[in-house]
Amino acid sequence: MTRKVSLNLILGGALVLLFLFTMVVSFFYTPYDVNQMRSEERLLPPGGRYRLGTDNFGRDILSRIMKGTQTAFLVGTISVIIGMVMGVILGAVSGYFGGWLERIIMQINETIQAFPGVLLALMIVAAFGPGTFNTIIALSITAIPGFMRITRSGFLQYKEYSFVEAAETLGISSPGIMFKHILPNLYPTIVVAASAGFAGTLLAEAGLSYLGLGVQPPEPSWGRMLHEAQSYLFKAPCYSLAPGFTILLSVLGFNLLSDGVRDLLDPKS
């Protein structure tokens, strides 16, 4: 069992590190200028001067994919952090205090969850316009319920424990108990959820950008590249392969990492 555990972790970690590395590199170096257009070198197949070929403007696909990691990580990181902070706070409050506060929060949660992620994102983008910032807001909101659920159930479990009672009799304030004594016990679960949430956010961002509502051109985004590639599906099938595989591998990386961390922290499964 231990062998398999490390395999998930190693593979996932390696993939994530690879993408992180690519992102860092892309700040300083890409094989070609990301936005430079060359009218005579359009839709070239992979190989040759351009490793992954060129797009419909003659831009280097590899460079754009590299630069795209920045966008993906920017959107992913911020959305997950916002979703996590909001989710944890709401989950902690509702789990710890219970009562009418819990009921209200749960009702809000229930209402958010009623909207499928794409619908919610569509509504937000329609109201505030497409763009990276609004994509982040939409994805943050969709990320909240997941974090909230695990935090709440954790709090429900831990608040019955004697150390909480002891802390209460010592007169420690509620926020103190919640965030200093109970929350640290939930860190592992939250980390696992964050990693999985990151994978989900990457997928969602790609989907929104594919619909043309997420990240806007000329900023490179994997989903947007797929959107553009679809118009040249038969002329240049390779164009739609590269961004697709990139999304697949990045999501896989975070999924594996999440599984690996879970196995590591919870050896019995």
Binding site: K4, M106, Q107, E110, T111, Q113, A114, F115, P116, G117, V118, L119, L122, M123, I124, A126, A127, G129, A199, L203, A206, G207, Y210, L211, L226, A229, Q230, L233, F234, P237, S240, G244, I247, L248, L249, V251, L252, N255, L256, S269
Partner: protein, 313 residues
């Protein structure tokens, strides 16, 4: 509060909040439907006249009351973009989306559960590991990319497949089914992988191997064992996942419909939003969210049915 009535109360309350929210969000969206309908050549007087005709000049709360009152009477109003009753448009596009979602669901259940059991049974062998890697990849595939690849494959290999052309059911139901097959597959395959992972985990945790051993000792046939004893025990996690998945399918089909250019609810929604067709947007959003809430309720009911103990929790 006891379990079931509580759930019903939440159901009603959520639906109401959803209706309020969909109405509110669509009111703050910039863009004037009258202007969009009349286009670039319109003169200001024409726009004002149309606004009045469409009832856009009424105060907000009146418009909400008018709308929600209509919903209760089964009257969703007229679409601004299509000049047709919203209900008709909705029914029309659901003829595409619902069968597709249903087909995807069938694929998920009939492929995902058996696959999960196979993976679970061989989880400590080489075959199991390979399958598990395959499903791990499967969960990471973006369904719209899969759709693009499937379209490439279908149009290239089978020369007769034409995306974007949906044959009406009454004209040629086999053809209709056929045109929904690739998109349903694109929606289903990643979910098959997800479901199979849940099933295999549950299988291993429930001690699938021991079950089989005991069953053999009792002299029962293998198949009976698998389906009767084991499936019952993995049904609860599966129900939970399925509930979430149906929600996902509803949302995910919006994107996949776009890939295959299907005239379903997703396309209708995107059109409605871009034309600021308020009655249509609200109706679709209400429908989608309402479906999710309803499915959540059904999942809760299913729990009670599968395991009566839950009712007492």
């Amino acid at each position: 509060m006891s379990y079931l009535p509580g759930k019903f109360l939440t159901f009603i309350l959520t639906l109401w909040l959803v209706s309020l929210l969909t109405f509110a969000v669509f009111q703050v969206i910039p863009g004037n439907p009258a202007q969009i309908i009349l286009g670039t050549e319109a003169l200001p007087e024409q726009i004002a006249a149309l606004e009045e005709e469409l009832g856009l000049d009424l105060p907000l709360h009146l418009r909400y009351l008018r709308w929600i009152g209509g919903v209760f009477r089964g009257d969703l109003g007229n679409s601004l973009r299509f000049s047709q009753p919203v209900l008709e448009l909705l029914v029309n596009s659901l003829q595409v989306t619902l069968p597709m979602a249903g087909m995807a669901l069938i694929f998920i259940v009939f492929l995902g559960i058996p696959l999960g059991i196979v993976v679970g049974r061989y989880h400590d062998k080489k075959q199991g590991l390979i399958l598990s890697i395959v499903t791990q990849f499967g969960t990471a595939v973006p369904s719209f990319w899969l759709g693009i690849l499937l379209m490439l494959a279908f149009a290239q290999l089978l020369k007769h497949f034409a995306p974007g052309t949906f044959v009406p059911w009454e004209e040629n139901w086999v053809g209709a089914l056929f045109s929904l097959f690739p998109p349903a597959l694109a929606v289903a395959l990643p979910k098959v992988a997800v479901l199979s992972r849940y099933v295999s985990t549950a299988f291993v945790e429930e001690g699938g191997a021991d079950y089989i051993r005991t069953a053999y000792a009792k002299g029962l046939r293998e198949k009976t064992v698998l389906y009767k004893h084991l499936l019952k025990n993995i049904l609860i996690p599966v129900t939970t996942v399925m509930g979430l998945m149906i929600t996902d399918i509803l949302g995910g089909s919006i994107i996949v419909e776009k890939v295959f250019a299907l005239p379903g609810i997703g396309r209708l929604l995107v059109t409605a939003i871009s034309f600021r067709d308020f009655p249509l947007m609200q109706a679709i959003a209400l429908y989608l969210a309402g479906m999710v809430v309803l499915i959540n309720l059904l999942v809760d009911l299913a729990y009670c049915f599968i395991d009566p103990r839950i009712r007492l929790r």
